[in-house]
């Protein structure tokens, strides 16, 4: 089969370097942008794999090639962007990493997976710091894409249930903790808020007339 791999983040390139060796792949090309993807004659390829891709792909791609991606959430409420951060802030430490069908639907507020379809899933541990979580995501992404390629073309799609709760995508300005909120938060809440915004994300910070204090790395210790 012929595959286009769309990804630009360091961890996505690590995944690419592993799955490009899958025996079912006769040809694979790496695209690091939307434009680069379109520069290939996509109709001549069988599959577009996206990895760590947080932008929409548009109908010009979605309508012309089967497109998949990986999404790290079990619940529908985290289908709107920044799922890692939102789950950690909500106190979730174990979730699912899933292969989803990447579609385009301008009328849907969902990010990427407007149709709620997934094919393969695996546990994803969200309990560490961002470096550990990203390392974990490299491993789980490789397993998921290999599983998908192993089963291809006999892929079974499963629909996950719809929820009314929507957790909106976080923006860099959301990394600010209001001083009044800061003093009301428990140690665990502060830890979760800061650790999910460690590099490479916009770090958590508090601000006053003196300046901005950015928290880059934290550790938690439960009562002994």
């Amino acid at each position: 089969m012929k595959v286009i791999f769309l990804g630009k983040r360091d961890w996505a390139i690590e995944v690419y370097n592993s799955i490009k060796q899958h025996p079912k792949i006769a040809k694979i090309v790496l695209a690091k942008s939307h434009a680069e993807t379109l520069s290939y004659n996509i109709k001549k390829y069988d599959l577009l794999i996206t990895c760590g891709w947080s932008e929409e792909i548009g109908s010009e791609i979605a309508d012309n090639i089967m497109t998949i991606g990986v999404h790290c959430a079990k619940l529908d409420r985290y289908s709107y962007g920044t799922p890692i951060q939102l789950q950690i802030i909500d106190g979730i430490t174990m979730t699912k990493h899933r292969i989803f069908h990447f579609t385009h639907d301008p009328s849907s507020p969902r990010a990427h997976t407007h149709n709620r379809l997934f094919s393969h899933e695996i546990d994803l541990d969200l309990s560490g710091n961002m470096t550990q979580i990203l390392e974990e995501m490299v491993k789980t992404s490789i397993i998921l894409f290999n599983k998908y390629l192993n089963d291809y073309p006999n892929i079974k799609w499963v629909e996950w249930p719809e929820e009314k709760i929507i957790r909106k995508k976080r923006m860099p300005k959301d990394s600010k903790i209001d001083k009044n909120d800061f003093v009301k938060m428990s140690a665990k809440e502060i830890y979760n808020f800061i650790r999910c915004l460690e590099d490479p994300y916009p770090n958590a910070y508090i601000e006053d007339d003196f300046g901005k204090l950015f928290f880059k790395k934290v550790k938690f210790e439960g009562k002994k």
Binding site: K179, I206, K212, F214, K216
Partner: protein
């Protein structure tokens, strides 16, 4: 000039390494613990100066009475004598200070002062601050070696200045009231001076759970 160097901390060893090629001195030994020092001096030692860098053990009167013992203290003595001088200065908002070369005596950090060198205490973490201490200490020692023995120490005025006890790990704790009352600059200073290898600053909530602040940065308004 014959010098015996006593240093065990990484930054102190780096200073020792950087001055080792100084043409004004002959290093007669490098000591890294109290036992080694006692052993080295057991039968007397032909040495002009014993240099202590970042040394935490008490030096007996027998040694200070028989040898010229000098040490480096990272503050503008007589200010911030005693323990944890870096932390106490940074918490007080001091970011421009001195490293002081002084004679060790029976009274802690109160001996005669030979010379001083500027030091910058800014930096997001202790690694950056240690680098500043190393650079300033090397300059301080090179100036001293160049001038010695044509240099006279000045008696330290211990009636002025300040003295602090060494900080303990419990003093790294922040509670709700601290977060409420301290501004961002005060919090930044508190946290950065307690980055590794020191007991990290932490917030303890009402349930006894703790979050440790390991790395931070600050952007001034």
């Amino acid at each position: 000039m014959k010098v015996l160097i006593c240093a065990y901390r990484d930054w102190a060893k780096e200073i020792s390494h950087k001055i080792s090629n100084n043409k004004n001195i002959i290093i007669v030994g490098n000591i890294s613990n109290q036992k080694g020092l006692v052993k080295k001096l057991k039968n007397g030692l032909d040495v002009d100066i014993i240099l202590f860098i970042g040394w935490s053990w008490i030096i007996s009167d027998e040694i200070t009475d028989n040898y010229l013992c000098i040490g480096i203290h990272p503050s503008d003595l007589p200010h911030y004598r005693g323990g944890s001088p870096i932390q106490n200065q940074i918490i007080d908002g001091v970011d421009k200070s001195k490293v002081t070369l002084f004679t060790l005596s029976s009274k802690l950090d109160s001996g005669d002062i030979w010379c001083k060198e500027d030091i910058n205490l800014s930096g997001n973490n202790m690694n950056a601050i240690f680098k500043n201490i190393i650079d300033s200490s090397v300059t301080l020692l090179e100036n001293f070696f160049k001038k010695y023995p044509n240099i006279e120490p000045i008696t330290q005025k211990t009636g002025v200045g300040s003295y602090f006890r060494r900080r303990t790990p419990i003093q790294s704790k922040l509670v709700k009231q601290d977060l409420q009352n301290m501004n961002t600059l005060e919090l930044y200073n508190f946290i950065r001076c307690l980055t590794t290898p020191y007991p990290n600053a932490y917030f303890e909530d009402d349930n006894g759970n703790r979050v440790f602040f390991e790395e931070i940065s600050f952007s001034k308004k």
